[in-house]
Symmetry: D2
Subunit: 338 residues, 4 copies
C-alpha cells in the first residue's frame, strides 16, 4: 500500500483525493498539506479517510511513512517542491507544467535523477480512452506511416483575466496538453513550430498580453506535420478531438457526451453537447494516471509520463510563443540551447 | 452511514461490494453471506474493507447493526429471503426478478408493506444515462404523446444450456429488463402482449424448452405500442438500443463503446464494437442504483424502483410466454388474476 | 430506342416524364394520355420533347409505334389497363399496387403471361442505394442467416381525409412498400402477419375506417421475423430506415439529408432533418426503376420486379388488415385461397 | 435557349456535355471543338444530340449562333481562349485556374470587362450542398463571427508523374479549390499564407519539384484563421471535409457515401468509404454550376463565381508556393504587385 501525501488541495488536488479513494486500491492518502488549510478542506478530505493535515508541505517531506507526493500547488512552486521532494526521497507526481522556465526544469531533472525517485508529470490525456485509441492505431501500424496529425482543443469559456495574468499564456497553459498529444500520438519529437495567433474571444486577454485563438503547425522529427487549433471559448462546450492520417488510413475521435440520445423534432436532429469541461470530460483519466503512478512507484517499472515528457511540451510552447511574437517558424533548437 | 449485508457473493454480489466501496460513500458493507463461503470470497471482500463473513444469511438478518440487505442469491431464493428480511426489519434491495411466480411476489409485497421497510428491485437500466435520456425526453414532453417505443436487446452470446434450464426462459430472464424499460420509458402499464418467438441461435436452447429470438409487441394503457426484439447472440456484441416516437418527434439511443475512434482504411470506415456485455455496459448503473437505494433507505423518500416495478414485468413475461405458446395476443389481466 | 406511352400524368406520371428525359437515354416518351388532358399538362410534357397528347389511353394502346406503357392512373384502374395493355402487346410498367383485389391481380397475371409481354410493378425502393445495400449485405452472406428484419416507415404528414377514403387503407397504401422491402431484404416469403394498429394521428382517419399507426410482425418462410413500424406523421420528416440482423451481424441504414452539415451551438449538436417526402427521398430510384424497365423491355432479360412481386405484398396487406380487425395472427394462406 | 460551344472534350468537357443534356433544360450544346476530334468523341457527343464537331475552336468563336463557351481545354490555353472568346462576344465558363500567371489573368479580366460578356470560373464546390451548408451557416450568422476555418482535402491517389510535371504544382492544381473554399466560406480575402509542405506519398513527385502533403495556414482580412490540410493519397478514398468555428458555434460537414449502410460484425461497426473521387463526389455540383452559368448568361444577373474569384485563389496558391520555398509566411501583397 503506497502512502501518498498531497501538496495543494485546490480543485485538482481534490480530484486526486477522490480518485485514490475510489479507483486506486493500491494507494492511500496519508496526509494533505495546503498553506490555506482550513475546516472546509479537512471536512472534504475526511470523507475519504484522510486524517493528517498540514499547512506546511515540509511536514509531508519529513514524514518517513510517506512514500510519494502529488504536487498540486500553483505552477510557480512546482519545480522547487519537486526538487525538495526528490531530496527527501519521495516519488513525485507533479501537475503540468513542471515549470515555465527551461533552466528550472533541467534542475528538476537533475535532482530527480540524482535521487533515483520515480517522477510522473500530469499529462492526463494520455490515459483517456479516446486519445489512447488514436495513439494505439498509430503505434500498431493501422494507419501506416503517420503523415498529418490534427488536434482540436477548445475550452468552453475563457478563464478570468486574473488567471490569464499568472498562467504563462495560452501556449504554456492550454496548448501544452495538445503539444503533449502531438508527441504522444506521433511517437516523435517536435523540430519546428509555427503559430498564428490572435485575440478574438476577449480583448481583456489581449490587454493581459496573451492570445485566445491559435492555429499552430508543428514539424516532427519523423517528417509528419501536426496542426493544433485552439480557442478559449466554444459556445457548445469543451471540444476535444484528434485525427491521425497516414499512408494506410486515418483514425479520428469525437467528443464525449453524457448520453447518446438524439432528439428528432421539427427543429432538426440533435444530439447532446460535449461534456462541459476537463473535470467532467477527463474524470476517468485523472484516476487512471494516479493508478499508473502508484503502480510504478510501488514497482520496478518507469512511470508512463516521465521527465522528458515534462520538458518537451514546454519547449514547444516557448517556441510557439516566440513564433507568434516574431512572426516566423521557430526551431526547437533555438529554445533548447542554454 | 447505512450498514449493508450482502446475501450471495457471486458475480453481481461482487459488483455491488465494489460499487459500494468506490461510489457510495453513504453506505458500507458490514457483512457478506454465501452458502459457499470460502477464502477466495473473503479475500475478494477484504479488499473493500469487509470483515464479517457467514455461510448462513440468517446471521445477517439477526444482526441488529445491519440496516439493509442486498439479495444477490439465486432467483428461486429471492422471495423467501425477501420475506424473512422484511420480517427482520431490514430494508431490501433484491435482484430481479423477485420471483417467477406471481403468488410468491404478492406475498413479498404483503410482507414488505406490513414491515414498512424500503424495497428496491434491481432494474439497473433505469440508472443508465442513455435510457434515462429517453425516458426524460418522454417525461418532459419533448416528443409529445408517445406512440411507438422500440427496444433492441441482444446478448453477445447465449448462456450455457444448464443456465437456460434454471433461467425461467428468455422472457423472464432477459426480456424482463426490456419489459421494465417499456414501462419506464412510456410511464404506462402493459395491457396486452403478443410474442413471436423462435429458436434460431442454438438448438440446445430449444431442446431445453426455451426460445432464443423474439419480437414482442406490447399494447400499453396509454394507447402506445411497444416492440422489443431480442436475440441471445449478436456477433458484434451487446446491442442495447431504444427509441421513443411521439406526436412531436423521436428520441433514440445507440450503443456505448470504449472509445469514439473511427478507423478509415481501404477496407472501410470502422468504429468499435459495443461494450461487450452487461458488466461492462452497465457498470456505472450498478453503482448508481445502490447509491439511490442507500439514500432512500437512509431517508424519507421511496426507492426509485419499488414493489409494483418488481411485479409488472413478471406479468408481462408470463403473458409473453403464454402468447408464444398459444400463438395469440394475451392480455395482462389473464395472467394477473389469481 | 424504346417508345413509351405514359397513361396518367399526375404527380408520379410527371416524375417519370422527367426521369426518362434526363436519366434514361435508351427510352423516349412518345405520347401521354390523361382523361383531364389540358394545356398545363401539355406545357409540362413539351419541356421534355413530348409531342403527342390524348385524353383516351386507348389511343396509346392502338399506336403500333409505342412499345411500352407506364400505368400511372388511379389505383382502381391499374388492373383493367394492365390487361388491355397486355392484349395490345405492350410491355407494362404499372404503379403499385396492381389492384387491391387478389382475383383481379390474378387476372392481370394471366393476361400478361398469355401475351408474353414484360411487366414491372413500381416498387421503387428496390432501386434505392440504401435499401439495396441492406439487401446486398444479406444476399452476399455478410450477416449470415437473416433472423430479424426491422423496417421503420413514417410519413411526414397524413394524407387528406378524401385520399384516405379511396386509398384502400394504410396497409395497402403505405405499408405495402414495407411489405415489399421485407420480401426484398429477406429473399423470403411471408407466412403469417400480426398487426397491432391504432388511430393516434388524426381522428378523421379513424372515422374513415382506417388506422394511422401500426406495428406489424411478419413470420417469413425462412424462419426470420420481420417487424414494421408505421406512422402517418413524423414531426421531423420522412423516416425511412431498415435493419437486418443475422447469425454473423447486422446491417442498418439511416435517413438521407440534403447535406451532412452538423451545427454545434449552445443549444446542442444538430444535423438536418431527413429529406421531406418520397419525391425528394426517392427521386433517384424513380429514374433507376424506369431505366431497368426500359432495359428489360428492350432486351431478353426479365424485369427486376415482376408479377409475383406485385401480388405478394397485397396478400400481406390484406392479412394485416384482417389481423388488425380480428385481433389475431393471420396466415397468408388464409388470404391466398380463392 | 442558350446555345453553348464546348472547347475541349476530355474528361471534364464530357461531364458538362452530359450535365447540360440532363440537368440544364435552359441550354443546349450546339458544337464541340477538340484538336483531337475523332469518331469516339463524336459518338459520345451524339448521345446528347450534339451535331457539330470541330478540330479548331475558332470555328465556335466565329459561329454567330453560339452564345457561350465552356473552356475545358488544358490549363495553359485557358487565358488565351478566354481573351479570344471575350473578343468574339461569347459568354465564358472557364475551368479553373484561369491561368497560373497573374499577369495573364489580369489580361483576361481586362478583356472580359471590355467585352462586357459574362464570365464564370469552374469552382464547382461552391455548388455542392455540403459546402453550401457551411457557407450558409456562416453567412446567416448561425456560428457568429467566424474565427477558425478548417478544410481537409485529400485525393484517393496521386496523379501520374507526367501530370505533376504540367500541373503547376499541388498548390495551383489541388489546393486551389481549398483556397477558393476558404474565401467562399469566410466571405473574406486572404492576407497572408504559411505553407508547411513535404513529399511523403511518392518520391517521383519530389523529383518533379512538387510536394504531395501540406498544412497551409491562411490569415484572412476579417481576422479569421483558415487551415487546409492536403494529401495526394488517402487509402480510404477522397476526403472532403470542412468546418467553420465562430463566436456562437461550429458547423462541420463529413464525406458522402454511396449509402448510409453500417455493417456490424465481429470485426467492428463499419460504414462505406467516401465516394471515390471528384467525378463521383461532385457530379451534382458540375451540373449545378453550368445551370447557374446558363441562367446568368441568359439573364441580367452576374455569374456566381466571377473574375475576382478566378484571381484570388491563384494569388493564394502562389503565396503558398513561395512560403514553402522560402520557409516563412508570405503576404498576398507580395504576390499581387506587378
Amino acid at each position: 500500500m503506497l502512502k501518498i501525501g498531497i501538496i495543494g488541495c485546490g480543485r485538482i488536488g481534490r480530484v486526486h483525493c477522490k480518485s485514490i479513494a475510489h479507483l486506486v486500491p493500491e494507494a492511500e492518502v496519508a496526509a494533505v498539506a495546503d498553506p490555506l488549510m482550513n475546516d472546509e478542506i479537512k471536512a472534504f478530505a475526511r470523507q475519504f479517510g484522510i486524517k493528517r493535515f498540514y499547512e506546511d508541505y515540509h511536514e509531508i517531506l519529513e514524514d518517513k511513512g510517506i512514500d510519494a507526493v502529488l504536487i498540486c500547488s500553483p505552477t510557480d512552486t512546482h519545480s522547487e517542491i519537486s526538487i525538495e521532494s526528490a531530496c527527501a526521497g519521495k516519488h513525485i507526481f507533479c501537475e503540468k507544467p513542471i515549470d515555465r522556465d527551461i533552466g528550472r526544469i533541467r534542475k528538476v531533472i537533475d535532482a530527480v535523477r540524482m535521487a533515483g525517485v520515480k517522477f510522473q508529470v500530469g499529462f492526463n490525456r494520455r490515459f483517456d480512452s479516446n486519445f489512447k485509441a488514436v495513439r494505439d492505431a498509430v503505434a500498431t501500424g493501422k494507419i501506416g506511416d503517420v503523415e498529418i496529425i490534427k488536434i482540436t482543443s477548445r475550452d468552453p469559456a475563457p478563464p478570468p483575466p486574473e488567471y490569464i495574468a499568472v498562467s504563462g499564456g495560452m501556449f504554456l497553459d492550454m496548448t501544452i496538453h495538445d503539444f503533449d498529444m502531438a508527441r504522444y500520438i506521433s511517437g516523435s519529437e517536435a523540430v519546428e513550430v509555427y503559430a498564428a495567433a490572435a485575440v478574438m474571444v476577449d480583448s481583456a486577454i489581449g490587454e493581459a498580453g496573451d492570445v485566445d485563438t491559435a492555429v499552430v503547425t508543428v514539424k516532427l522529427a519523423n517528417g509528419a506535420l501536426a496542426v493544433i487549433d485552439n480557442s478559449r471559448r466554444a459556445a457548445y462546450g469543451y471540444d476535444q478531438r484528434a485525427e491521425a492520417f497516414g499512408s494506410l488510413g486515418c483514425v479520428s475521435i469525437s467528443n464525449n457526451t453524457n448520453s447518446s440520445a438524439v432528439l428528432s423534432t421539427s427543429k432538426g436532429v440533435c444530439g447532446e453537447k460535449p461534456l462541459y469541461f476537463f473535470l467532467e470530460r477527463y474524470l476517468q483519466s485523472f484516476g487512471d494516471e494516479i493508478k499508473a503512478f502508484a503502480q510504478a512507484a510501488a514497482g520496478d517499472t518507469d512511470t508512463p509520463v516521465g521527465l522528458e515528457d515534462g520538458l518537451a511540451p514546454v519547449l514547444m510552447a516557448l517556441a510557439a510563443k516566440k513564433s507568434a511574437a516574431e512572426h516566423r517558424p521557430v526551431r526547437i533548437s533555438e529554445i533548447e540551447q542554454p
